[in-house]
Symmetry: C2
Subunit: 313 residues, 2 copies
Amino acid sequence: MSGGNVLALCGGVGGAKLALGLSLVLPPEKLTVVVNTGDDFTHLGLRICPDIDTVTYTLAGLSNTETGWGRAGESWEFMENLRSLGGPAWFNLGDKDLATHVERTRRLMAGEALSAVTADFAGRLGIGPAVVPMSDDEVATVVETDGGDLAFQHYFVRDRCEPAVRGIRFEGAESAMPSPGFIAALRGALDAVVVCPSNPYLSVDPLLALPGVREALAHHAAPVIAVSPIVGGRAIKGPTAKLMGELGLAVTPATIVRHYGDMLDGFVLDSEDRDLADGLGASTLITNTVMKTIEDRTGLARAVLDFAARLRA
Amino acid sequence: MSGGNVLALCGGVGGAKLALGLSLVLPPEKLTVVVNTGDDFTHLGLRICPDIDTVTYTLAGLSNTETGWGRAGESWEFMENLRSLGGPAWFNLGDKDLATHVERTRRLMAGEALSAVTADFAGRLGIGPAVVPMSDDEVATVVETDGGDLAFQHYFVRDRCEPAVRGIRFEGAESAMPSPGFIAALRGALDAVVVCPSNPYLSVDPLLALPGVREALAHHAAPVIAVSPIVGGRAIKGPTAKLMGELGLAVTPATIVRHYGDMLDGFVLDSEDRDLADGLGASTLITNTVMKTIEDRTGLARAVLDFAARLRA
């Protein structure tokens, strides 16, 4: 490792685990984590950014590692009383977590950019690396299902990913700008771009749908390395496998490699899938990608950075 | 008591105690509590109605009787985390209480009237009597101080009533309409109108500033009875006495009687002030008005209703 800068592209839970690993093995000023905001939505008048909050809480050591979302030691007085008043209770908001949404909404309404609010919160929570929303403009992931279009959180949380998916689109992406921090990271010298093992279709594609991003990655001097979110024909977390099936795609690492296409320089395959390495069409690293412990996270982070160094050589 | 309808005019804590007493001695369908909304404000994007909430929580048996505001058994995870994110923390919002503000704001934004939301919340919390905001239009109590104009909650909570008051005005009152429930109560047959022992200048005057209300009360067939908020030259609760001094008014029950003027038919004086009954200029009931226990509340409520019956006779 030469000690250059690393850009991580990240969705929620799965991606945040690798982002945490990278944050533990890199000097803080060397890492920029750009986070999906296609899942963001306005609920109860509050602007909620699930992936930014998952990444922020994870890097700050505040996340609930059992549920995979929200904060550790969370309490639910607000939700209980919201229910008693007949309010919409399908989206759980913990008492601690609520402060993030209320204060973010207040600052956005006062005219601050999401980037500025996100950076300030991260700083106050003691996070060293830059946590950067993919855009300061609103982009909304819409899931096209047999039952009609669903806003992402309605699909993901309210309907528990049950509706069969026919397509996905990112409303507003074509006219949204990548955030200043994302653009700066893409324009700067990088040692590696790491596509974290988030859902490619729901969590990484929104970033790639922003004008110029896919092209910038495809032509970047730094190796772009994706970590497979598919292990043994299953998704480690979330609806990736179910969704791939519904979209008529084979649930294999090769499908992921083809999906990322020419922007990809390297692919990280789980040891369980070592038989699938041949013919993937990208340089491949075979290692453990299932992150159960902190050592799994830092181990994978180091392996990916070493892989990037070899690809640069 | 003939069993007719009773209209109570009420501010926050002090008034809510008598409203509770009335609710415990009257059949629920006979009591309408009209509540000051001049203290309402928008904070952190949330529409907060302190007096409505105090009355609602009090009548529902959910209020914190130690602090006089907020809910019993409240938790403060939200506030603690709001502080850690650098948010404005001068106005305390408990985790349970927050659900009221968030859900009310959501429904107001969706186009519902404050009256409808207030009635629905009261019903869900098992409250029998009608709890009615004085108006569905926004009226803002502004406190004119040596240091300039202050929004009510900035004066009352943030600055702890410390600035010297030079005047008080109710912005929007002249063009606001009394709420439909307030108008209906004023137009219907009543056995009594009870002005609860809230601050006359800050908590009752906003109701009286609404077009037609003072006139309707002055000409109403039912006796209008005010309970003195001043006992022994002091206010039972809050800044009433300090404020009266700053406005150049003698801190006596007679000042309160003169303030309510010709709309008043009867006045309830505390036993401690029995020497001040002569020359008050209104029929006077002398009784215990300091409400420490539930029996104090129901006792005062019964005494006021009996007094009204005598005034009607």
